[in-house]
Symmetry: C2
């Protein structure tokens, strides 16, 4: 039976790779009991080494009370891994036929109502849940590598997923210490990966055209926009960079620059609706902070990030 | 006359806006004497407030010996601003006719051989230097906002720029404490802005299509890829994420995923040459570090960045 989101205690983690191992390490550090399913006990050593490698970092961030690696149970029996479980995080190989077969089993084995989340980065839950007899409790919960450190989890359901399951998993991830982001639509690549993929393709184009080396690209990001992006994202970075006028100034003034050949990505049509959505969104995020307060806060944090990168 | 790059002492900063003011603050903090040109003395108060706002951050990073805001001279007389100068950093408004007229003057006023660098983000030096009588010493030196904190400066010449001037300015910026990046070609948007622009256009498309809000985009970046990008860039982030196999595994395994509709940016053709350029570039950056060492280093630094973002 599905527990209250803040009462979940036993987590099933499926998969012996860096994502499955990373999730197991994360949940152990947050004080949960973890029942890990690996495909073969021959993978146990590698799986444990992922957790042992992650542990010192998790300790330095701060363990939850009672957190210990002794709370880990490892099995190659799926039925044992999901016994009495409160939540399943699935990180099996990224192939549709494997995931579909797995969800067919999980749909019957996992206790009634318990939510099953997939770490998939490239498949949709509508595809994955196609052969599952209880698809209403299956969701995407896509982490970022390394999953024991980066807080983001992108959450979205398939056509057969219930709102209940989505509400529950958002609350559960938040309670567990993650930063879940609920998608409005089931789009390929979700949000963060799409943004990263646009940047990545532009980078590949530049290398292909002899315009930059991989090292140029990494240095450009590390010493340029990335430290600011880690603190403000991109919308608020532009909002604050434009002073009092904020995002409205950015779009009204630099809107025409969208048509310049500054990337191989085609420009979106800057309609009135899009402009207003951007401006309203940034104003909402800014709340009652003044431009000066936000700029000062940005600078203070960039200094901290620069120092952190330097050490 | 052009001094040795590590002997420059007097800097001319042109422009009263956030970029001109930011550069002035940076050079003062690094112990230089700064002769600032502003268009009208009515802008003096705003200009000084940019420097005063930046100063506490610069202090917390650490001032150079002898650095003081008393080393600042402000004038609305261009000839006075460039008198005896060792280097000119120009941050005038981003309009071609203004820059061209300015470089016509600077070409005659600035002491012989002294390098003139433009903060332009959108124009090319080939265009800017068109009416300058001494174009061989004019270069682009494009900073990232805020220029007193983010270390990146993108450097590229126009058709008439000499290699000497480019060599000098690379050494000068490095000596001054910046991270200059010399571009192989004069491409629109340079490197960092192109990467950021690809990501930005994808973000605007998502908002336009109701797939994400500005807040979703910022949260996705801040809690997902950005902290890692601040440390590793994007090439090394993928190289290290793929374990022993590195970038070769990434491209050979996920190459076909480039064709997936994960962004509106068209995929580059993944030729053998491109693959090898990416793999060789990452291997060169990795040097003799093992995958485990790099992953451990990444994690240690992500923890520091996450703590820095949190405080």
């Amino acid at each position: 039976m599905r527990p209250l989101a803040d009462k979940a205690r036993i987590i099933t983690s499926i998969g012996a790779g860096p994502i499955g191992g990373g999730w197991a390490a994360f949940f152990l550090a947050r004080g949960f009991k973890v029942q890990a399913y690996i495909h073969s006990m021959e993978e146990e050593r590698m799986f444990r080494s992922i957790i042992d490698t992650a542990w010192p970092c998790l300790e330095s961030i701060g363990l939850a009370p009672g957190a210990t690696r002794d709370n880990l149970m490892i099995t190659d029996d799926l039925a044992v891994a999901v016994r009495d479980t409160d939540f399943v995080q699935e990180s099996a190989p990224e192939r549709l036929e494997i995931k579909q077969a797995l969800y067919k089993h999980l749909g019957e084995l996992v206790p009634e109502g318990v939510v099953i989340a997939s770490s998939t980065s490239g498949l949709t839950m509508t595809e994955i849940q196609a052969e599952c007899s209880t698809p209403e409790r299956t969701v995407v919960g896509h982490p970022f590598n390394p999953p024991y450190l980066l807080p983001l989890v992108e959450v979205v359901g398939g056509v057969a997923t219930s709102d209940d399951a989505l509400d529950w998993v958002m609350e559960f991830y938040r309670h567990a210490g993650k930063e879940p982001l609920r998608l409005k639509k089931e789009i390929p690549g979700f949000i963060a990966t799409r943004l990263q993929e646009a940047l990545w393709r532009e980078a590949l184009h530049m290398v292909a055209n002899g315009e930059a080396s991989p090292e140029d690209i990494d240095r450009a990001l590390r010493f340029g926009p990335a430290p600011r992006m880690a603190i403000q994202g991109q919308c608020m970075a532009f909002h604050v960079a434009c002073g009092e006028g904020g995002m409205a100034t950015n779009l009204d003034q630099f809107g025409p620059a969208l048509k310049l050949p500054w990337t191989r990505l085609e420009a979106p049509e800057l309609t009135r609706e899009l402009r207003d959505a951007m401006v309203d969104g940034c104003n909402a995020m800014a709340g009652d902070q003044s431009f000066e307060e936000m700029a000062a806060e940005r600078d203070r944090r960039i200094v901290a990030v620069i120092k952190a990168c330097r050490d």
